[in-house]
């Protein structure tokens, strides 16, 4: 029996003694969210956060494959200094499409909307997110935005780069630009609604016993992300709307020919798009924190430092947008301030890295695939972070601006950071989502391919960027040929790694071994349910009596408590304590 003092959830604020009964999740669940309702229509109209999360995951994977395929085409084109196999105009459209799809369709929704949707309510012990129908709506808004982008391709396409800089984007006379900007405008709402949903869920739907200091760090990270989504995305929405109006009506706010200011567009755009970088990477930090404790069997080092540094990144992230515009004619005072603030954002990020490394210290580390990705993340993201500091330095940036150095930097951060974290999370929660294990040796081999392929692709880009190779160029001078060719070979290795992942995950779906509720022996709340979970996530209302990283406590104490309530105006709890089976509720 465990007597717990808890402030229940937010609805009742007076602390009370809870008597809880412990139970174990069933090894092989009979009724899961996957068997609950079947058929395509049931999936398309579901309000279950788990299914919506999987639908997002599928869509993100689809767009990743598509945009990744474009990347391979681009790298192949760059094999020779002149034309290899694509025309220059097509090349411009392809790199624009690659960037726009990877940013808006893959990176922004990847971790929060796909994995976050699945995991967040489970980590809170909630039955669903606060607004399940809104959640489904945000998925369809995402699909709708994607359709608009494809319509743009049918209307001459767009070749402005994913940043849509004016005046080119307002003068290019392509109908495609209007379609794609409206598509991005619509997509923004999907992101805003997800953020609104998560903030409300985290505030109001925590299970009894989950106080703010027992919140998993993944939840803290998603909380910080949601705040950025809600505060930054509307600014993108209005910017994009103004840009569309600039194209449709020539309202003249951004177009210099009509008296407007193209640099104002850049300010507006980066006021969203720099914080958007943190929308992409901060949820990745959350996953790393979860995985690293589970596979070190050790309490996280510096819980509050990691939790609050996410919020610090969210806050400072709003004040650094000007570092994208050091060469756009900002005042010297502004550039200096933005440069200092950019250095400042490195501090909370550094705090996280040091805390993760300290968590490893004297931990009992097991090198499973998710953990392997964590190590890859720390290595690659550190390179990405440090090169970011160099780009934030004023004089260095003048030299490196708009070169391949920048391309390499953000790929190290976005792909080496966010996507590797996504892979870590996917491998970590895969058994929870599907109830199946994947082929561990093959997964490790794939991770090796990705690590090697990634570095072969992007390390040469730092060098040629520093030597002056501009980004987005179709042709280049002969001296860069070896770097470009190495990079292209690397991209093939990278693609091979992803194909292996595709193979063994598909294999695991059909032929994988049963995972059991908690294959990693984690203390996290989401692992104290069956794999896959049932429709309500937990068969009993969980009462949480320990923090998510209390590895010094025996696992038995993490079997959840059962609270019986409702209908009597007070919480009544089953008094019987020692039984370890999941008993049906006995209502008083």
């Amino acid at each position: 029996m465990a007597n717990v003092s808890t402030s229940a959830n937010s609805a009742a604020s007076t602390p009370m003694k809870l008597k809880v009964k412990q139970f174990q999740p069933a090894q092989t669940p009979t009724n899961t969210y996957l068997t609950d309702e079947k058929g395509v229509w049931a999936w398309l109209t579901t309000v279950d956060h788990k299914k919506i999360g999987l639908m997002y995951l599928g869509s993100v994977a689809f767009f990743f494959a598509l945009a990744g395929f474009l990347a391979i085409a681009l790298r192949t084109e760059l094999w020779t200094p002149a034309k290899t196999f694509i025309e220059a105009d097509t090349y411009n459209q392809l790199f624009t499409l690659h960037g726009a799809m990877m940013v808006f369709f893959v990176l922004v929704p990847s971790i929060p909307a796909a994995l976050g949707n699945f995991i967040l309510p489970m980590q809170l012990g909630a039955k669903d997110v606060a607004f399940p129908r809104l959640n489904l709506a945000s998925f369809y808004i995402y699909v709708f935005g994607a359709i608009f982008t494809f319509l743009s391709l049918a209307n001459n396409g767009f070749d402005t780069g994913w940043t849509f800089y004016t005046p080119y984007s307002s003068d290019t006379n392509s109908a495609g630009i209007i379609w794609v900007t409206l598509g991005v405008f619509i997509l923004g709402f999907s992101s805003i609604l997800t953020g609104t949903n998560f903030i409300t869920t985290i505030h109001k739907l925590r299970a009894p016993g989950i106080s703010w200091d027992r919140l998993p760090l993944n939840v803290w990270a998603l909380y910080a992300t949601s705040i950025i989504q809600v505060l930054a995305t509307p600014v993108l929405a209005i910017t994009i709307l103004l840009l569309a109006m600039e194209n449709i009506l020539d309202i003249g706010i951004f177009d210099p020919a009509l008296g407007g200011d193209p640099v104002l567009y850049q300010h507006f755009f980066w006021f969203y798009s720099h914080p958007a970088v943190y929308i992409m990477i901060v949820p990745g930090f959350g996953i790393i924190s979860e995985v690293i404790t589970t596979f070190s069997k050790k309490t996280i080092f510096g819980y509050w430092a990691i939790a609050l540094s996410s919020l610090a990144i969210a806050f400072i992230g709003f004040l650094v947008w000007g570092h994208h515009m050091f060469t756009s004619g900002q005042s010297a005072v502004a550039t200096t301030i933005f440069s200092f603030l950019t250095f400042l954002v490195g501090i909370p990020t550094g705090i996280k890295i040091f805390n993760w490394v300290a968590t490893l210290y004297r931990g009992s580390i097991s090198m499973k695939t998710p953990m392997l990705y964590v190590f890859i993340f720390i290595f690659l993201f550190s390179i990405g972070g440090f090169t970011g500091i160099m780009l934030g330095a004023l004089s260095v940036d003048i030299h490196l601006h708009d070169t391949y150095y920048v391309v390499a930097h953000f790929h190290y951060v976005m792909m080496g950071g966010t996507l590797i974290a996504l892979l870590a999370g996917l491998h970590y929660w895969w058994p929870k989502m599907t109830g199946k294990m994947y082929n561990e040796p093959l997964a490790k081999i794939a991770a090796g391919f990705i690590f090697i392929g990634f570095n072969v692709t992007f390390l040469p880009q730092f060098i040629m960027g520093a030597q002056g190779m501009p980004r987005r160029y179709y042709n280049y001078i002969d001296q860069f040929t070896p770097f470009h060719q190495t990079s292209t070979i690397g991209s093939y290795i990278l693609a091979l790694g992803f194909l292996i992942i595709l193979y063994y995950l598909a294999h695991s779906l059909f032929k994988g071994k049963k995972a059991g509720p908690n294959p990693w022996n984690s203390r996290g709340l989401e692992w104290q349910s069956t794999s896959p979970p049932d429709f309500h996530n937990f068969s009993h209302t969980p009462v949480v009596i320990h923090g998510p990283y209390d590895y010094h406590q025996p696992i038995e104490e993490f079997q959840l408590g059962l609270a019986v309530e409702h209908g009597h105006g007070e919480k009544y709890l089953a008094a019987d304590a020692t039984g370890s089976e999941a008993a049906e509720t006995t209502s008083a």
Partner: protein
């Protein structure tokens, strides 16, 4: 929970513990959404500030073309509708079905009055050739008074701000009609009036934004 549905009131969704939690969630969600709305309009206000700082004489000149009287009438109309929507919430809390219906109807009516006045303002301007962007083609009299090469920018901002605000009014009317239909069916009472409350919050914001737009656009001399 085994006895979940038995103890749950009908309006409470399955994933909430009780009615209060659902109400609090809906309210917080709406507040978060309103913050997002403010940032959305914030971009427009920001553009306004920058161009006004650059062309102060243009703004004072161009504002004279706006009809202060009808702008003021519209301000009163919207503030009135904010009052009636607050009274609608009060009626719902007090189980006054009739009062709720009437107050919602008055709110819808006032919102429509606002749009009609706005329509005639637009109509008048378009008639004078004060149109947004590339349709900018003022009559000679207007061009003589509005002697500024960037005059179209003020009206670009004017149409964007009032246009986006007008869209919010239209959305508000749609929500209010939906509330009215549900109120007629007797869905709301002192136990459950969440949709009325959060639509009211939204409507207050739409009102509030207009209260900023009116002096910024009409009253700068």
């Amino acid at each position: 929970m085994a006895n979940h549905s038995a103890t749950h009131p009908k309006h409470v969704h399955h994933h909430f513990v009780d009615s209060n939690q659902q109400f609090e969630s809906a309210k917080l969600g709406m507040w978060v959404f309103l913050v997002n709305e403010i940032l959305f309009f914030g971009g427009l206000f920001c553009a306004y500030i920058i161009f006004r700082a650059w062309y102060p004489e243009l703004f004072t000149q161009a504002a004279l073309e706006l009809n202060t009287f009808w702008g003021a009438v519209n301000t009163v109309v919207l503030i009135g509708s904010s009052l009636t929507v607050a009274m609608a919430i009060r009626s719902a809390q007090n189980n006054q079905k009739r009062g709720l219906e009437i107050n919602l109807l008055i709110t819808i009516l006032l919102a429509c009055v606002f749009l009609v006045i706005k329509y005639f303002e637009y109509e008048h301007k378009l008639h004078l050739g004060i149109a947004p962007g590339s349709f900018w083609n003022p009559t000679p009299e207007i061009a003589a008074v509005l002697d500024h090469p960037k005059a179209n920018i003020f009206f670009g901002i004017y149409y964007m701000m009032t246009g986006v605000h007008g869209l919010h009014v239209i959305v508000g009317i749609g929500l209010m009609i939906w509330l009215y239909i549900r109120a007629r069916k007797g869905h709301f009472n002192s136990e459950y009036y969440t949709p009325v409350e959060i639509t009211g919050l939204y409507w207050h914001l739409v009102d509030l934004i207009w209260i900023f737009l009116f002096p910024l656009l009409y009253l700068i001399e």
